[in-house]
Structures are given as C-alpha cells and as structure tokens.
C-alpha cells in the first residue's frame, strides 16, 4: 500500500567516526558510531540539507516506515515527506540519533572498545555542545559543508540554537520550536525527580543493570509518567480525560480508576519497555547543563553576536514547561544583534507536546519558512 505524501520505506545507516572526540565533561571518546536516516536528495550545490534534531526521547527515525507492516511511522512523519511542510522533493533531510542515545548510536548499552565491556554506568554525560560536534562530523562525512537549516523542538530546539553559535558559518537558518535558552529551576526539579525515580529503582544497579539482565522499569515508568504530565496543559488534560472513569461507579481501591491514570500507566509501560534508563538520565542532564549564557540572560545577546543565521522561533501559549517567555528571551538576544528573526506564539492548547501536532496554521508557518529557505538556495 502506497501512503500519500510519505517518504515510504526507509532504512537507517551507520556512521563510524574514528576521529577522537573530546567531550565537554573532559573525557575523550576515541571513536563512536551514529545511526542516522536521510530523506530526499542532496542537490548538486549540496546546499539543500536540513538537519532535524530530536528531543529527550526521540531518535533518528523522523519519517516513513521500516516495512509495510510497520505500525508507526517516524516521529515527525506529519511534517516531513514529499509535499509536506518540510518537502523531501526539495530538501535533503537528515535525522540522527544523538550520541548517548539508545537507538543504535554509541551509548551506555554499547561496548566500550577499550574494556570490551558494556559501558553502563561508565558512559560519560554528553552535552548539547558535544552533540553539535558529532552532528557536524556526520554532515562532513555526508559531504555537506553548510546546512540550509537546523530544525528542532524542545531539546532539539536547543541544538538548533547551539548550531548557530557553534558553527555560525555552517548554518543558514535556525528553526527553534518550544525551546528555551536554558532550563528554569522548576524544569531541573522535574528532571531530578525523573532521575531519582530511575536511580533509586533497585533494578537500576547503579547503571550496570545490563549484566544482571534487569531493566529498571519501575523507575522509567514513573519518570515517563511525570514527563507526560508536564508535556500537557491542564486544559488539554481536562478536555481529553477530565474526571472520566473506567467504571460507572468508584471501586474504592488502588487499581486504575480514572482515565488519566490509565493513560499515564500505558505511556509509562510503553516507555519502560523500549527506552534505555541510562540514556534517559543522561538526556535530562544534557537539558539541565545547557546554558550558553552561563546563567546571565544579558550574556545571551553577547553569545549570539557570533550567530549569522536567520531565525524562526515558535512557542506555544499553553506550554508551561518551555513557556513563550523563554522563547522571547532567545528572540531578544537575536534582535539585540540585529539578526533576522521571525517569532510566532501559537495559541495551541496542548502544551509542550504541541510542537509535534498536525495543525494547519503551525504547519503553514513551517511550510512558508521552508519556501523562503528554498528561494535562497
């Protein structure tokens, strides 16, 4: 069955990098692997490449399916494809599983070539800056000298922002959605609760649970449930679930009673079965540490002096995890440097997760912006 506007059946590739990488934490990785997917074709000028960065629990599988029986397409399939807002007939789109991820790139469950053992607890903490470095290595391997754009939501948006600072000459446009220039104390607090739920799960074994054939599912479940609460707005939770219950009358026990409980339990179970606990706690750390302005909002304007890209910044009014005010801080830094920026604040009700939604106006903005990028190629 041919799906309309789909990139179709896709296959990931593996990039083996043997150039040593000095991480921000001080540790050096002698080599590493990145799993990635590409869609569309690189043009003759090699200037139509778009890097799409993933957020906390994402991966390199942006669009299409692995087989005709594959139930779910890539996580941003509603946006990427032939004729879609990010049109793969015009652009060469690259998705990569970030270093430390658990979907095929070198990460905590990989073998450390030095010790020939699973990394586990010894796997270093990777930062947004490190990711940009590895993404640049991959792009150079693909023969891409300059990106038409980097696009990302949430933690992916932070990578897009970081690209404009770290490789200002190599990025023409930076699209930053539902992001922030750093995390607030409240955000770090949520991350710490998620980490503690994993770390204190006895099956976590200090991060070396692989050898013991255990998975800290309880911790992962709770971490994910907490995450889901913060990704949705109160309004959308009310509309979706309200006080709806499974049974007509209350059961007066601790089994799932309300629909919201059942939703969170489902999401928690699903996640615990497929996501790596060591990766999760490290991804949250990458979020916590990201702070190009080093704690001083005034520094953001100074840091952004280096940037040369054009920017599109989008926020969602109902997103309380990365509120519009945080996006406006980025916009202010860009305006202070007289950089070209457009900023949209969308009224979507769904909260932080809105950046993944299939909304006509939201997708219209992205489509129009990519048309502008295309006209500049």
């Amino acid at each position: 069955m041919e799906e309309k506007n789909s990139v179709g059946i896709v296959k990931p590739s593996l990039f083996k990098c043997s150039i040593p990488l000095k991480l921000e934490c001080g540790i050096t990785l002698d080599s590493y692997e990145l799993i990635y997917e590409t869609y569309g074709k690189l043009n003759k000028k090699r200037n139509n490449a778009i890097l799409v960065c993933h957020a906390l629990s994402g991966n390199h599988h942006l669009a299409g399916r692995y087989s005709s029986k594959d139930k779910h397409p890539g996580w941003w399939d509603n946006l990427i494809g032939p004729g879609k807002p990010l049109d793969t007939r015009k652009f060469f789109v690259v998705g990569v599983n970030n270093l430390g991820g658990s979907h095929g790139s070198t990460g905590p469950k990989s073998i450390n070539p030095k010790t020939k053992k699973v990394w586990g607890s010894k796997f270093p903490i990777i930062t947004v800056k490190d990711w940009v470095e590895t993404q640049q290595a991959l792009l150079s391997h693909l023969g891409i000298n300059r990106l038409a754009s980097v696009l990302g939501g949430s933690l992916g948006g932070m990578q897009s922002l970081q690209w404009s600072i770290q490789y200002p000459e190599k990025i023409a446009n930076s699209i930053i959605i539902a992001a922030a220039p750093n995390l607030t104390a409240q955000n770090i607090a949520f991350n710490e609760v998620a980490r503690q739920s994993i770390i204190t799960d006895p099956d976590f074994s200090n991060g070396d649970f692989y050898q013991e054939n255990k998975i800290p599912k309880r911790g992962l479940r709770i971490a994910r449930m907490l995450g889901h609460i913060t990704y949705l707005s109160n309004d959308v939770m009310g509309t979706k679930f309200g006080r709806k219950t499974k049974n007509k009358s209350y059961q007066y026990n601790f089994k799932t009673e309300f629909d919201i409980e059942s939703y969170l339990n489902y999401q928690g179970d699903k996640f615990a079965n497929e996501f790596d606990a060591n990766t999760y706690i490290r991804m949250t750390k990458a979020l916590d540490y990201y702070d190009p302005a080093k704690g001083n909002p005034k520094n953001l304007s100074k840091i952004l002096k280096k940037a040369k890209a054009d920017f599109l910044v989008i926020s969602f009014a109902s997103d309380w995890r990365f509120s519009p005010d945080r996006s406006k801080e980025i916009v202010k830094g860009l305006l202070d440097n007289n950089l070209k920026v457009s900023y949209a604040e969308l009224t979507a009700v769904s909260g932080h997760d809105a950046f993944l939604m299939d909304d006509v106006h939201y997708h219209g903005i992205i489509r129009s912006y990519f048309k502008k990028i295309q006209s500049q190629l």
């Binding site: 406006k328 305006l335 007289n338 920026v341 457009s342 219209g364």
Partner: protein, 199 residues
Amino acid sequence: MKKNNQTNRYDFNVIESWVHQNSKVLDLGCGDGLLLNHLKDKKNITGFGIEKDKDNWLLSLKNGVDVIQMDLESGLAGFEDNSFDTVILSRTIQSMHNIQSIISEMQRVAKEIIVTFPNFGYWRNRFQIIKGGMPLSKELPYNWYNTPNIHLCTINDFDNFCTTHKISVVEKHIMTDQQAVNFYPNLFGALALYKLVKK
C-alpha cells in the same frame, strides 16, 4: 487581506518620503507586511514588523518580512532603547487601549515616529452621524458592534494630544482618495499621516 494594495499606494509613498535611505524601521501592526516591502524596495531599509493577528502574521512571513508576533498593548519589551531610526504605527492607533503608553514606547525605541489614522472628523463621517448612524467607509469598514476601533479621533484631537504630551509634529499630511487635502483638512481629509519627534 487586511490592507488593500491600491488604496495604500499613496500613503505608502508619503511614508516612504519620510523614511531615510538605508535606515532601520519597525512597523507596528504591520498587517500583510507590504508597507515594509515597499520601504525595502524604495529606501533599502532593514527592519521588522510586529503583528498580533495570526493570519496577517503568516501573510507577512509569506511576503518575506521578518515579523514578531506580539500584542502591542503590552509594550515593546524586547526592543532596546533607540534601536530603530523610525517606528511606524499605520492605521492601528485607533484600535489600541493605551495610546499614551504605545506612543511613549515608540519614542523609546526610535528617534522618529510615524502615526497614521482615519480622521473621524472627515465630513462623510460627520454626515453619517447627522443622518443618525455610525460611520461606515473605506477607512472605517466595520459596524459599531464588531469594530476593533475604540479610540477614534479627529485631526484636531490628535494635534491637541501632541501639544499636551510635548510631541513635536515635524511632518503632517492629510489625504482623501489618494489626493492631498490642504483646505479644511479636519473636514475634508479621510486619512491623517504624522511624523513626530520628542520635544
């Protein structure tokens, strides 16, 4: 489209003549962004538009304008003092709640400010009121119950406002149907354009 290209041409030209070559311009309530594009073409300006309405915002983006979505009622936070040469408020002031605050914000971010508004003192408006109804015209196309215009004023009112608030009028142009009006402008002018600086 909010602003009609044809009727706008002439006030675009007046505004263009008041804007300096290669200057930096901020257009508040930029609509579809065509005024900024006109100024880019004719005066090689750089700048931004501000637009609250999501459909107009998208039109501006499509027209190649760098546009910030925000509500002018909350001021111009995010824009540094004197960061623009000219700030324009074209056919928007009459729909704003706090006129004093937006004018003072405009004075903060730019040296020169341009304000245009429909003249409520225009004879056709007066005549419609004498006949007993609220005015409906090309400049005032809304019914009383759905109009966004809450602070309509006449040319005399605006002159008094400028005097009271110590604002110097450096240029003033009154027009009707693309023609300049010099004879009893408060009676015969449909649209008023002002270039202002701080006293």
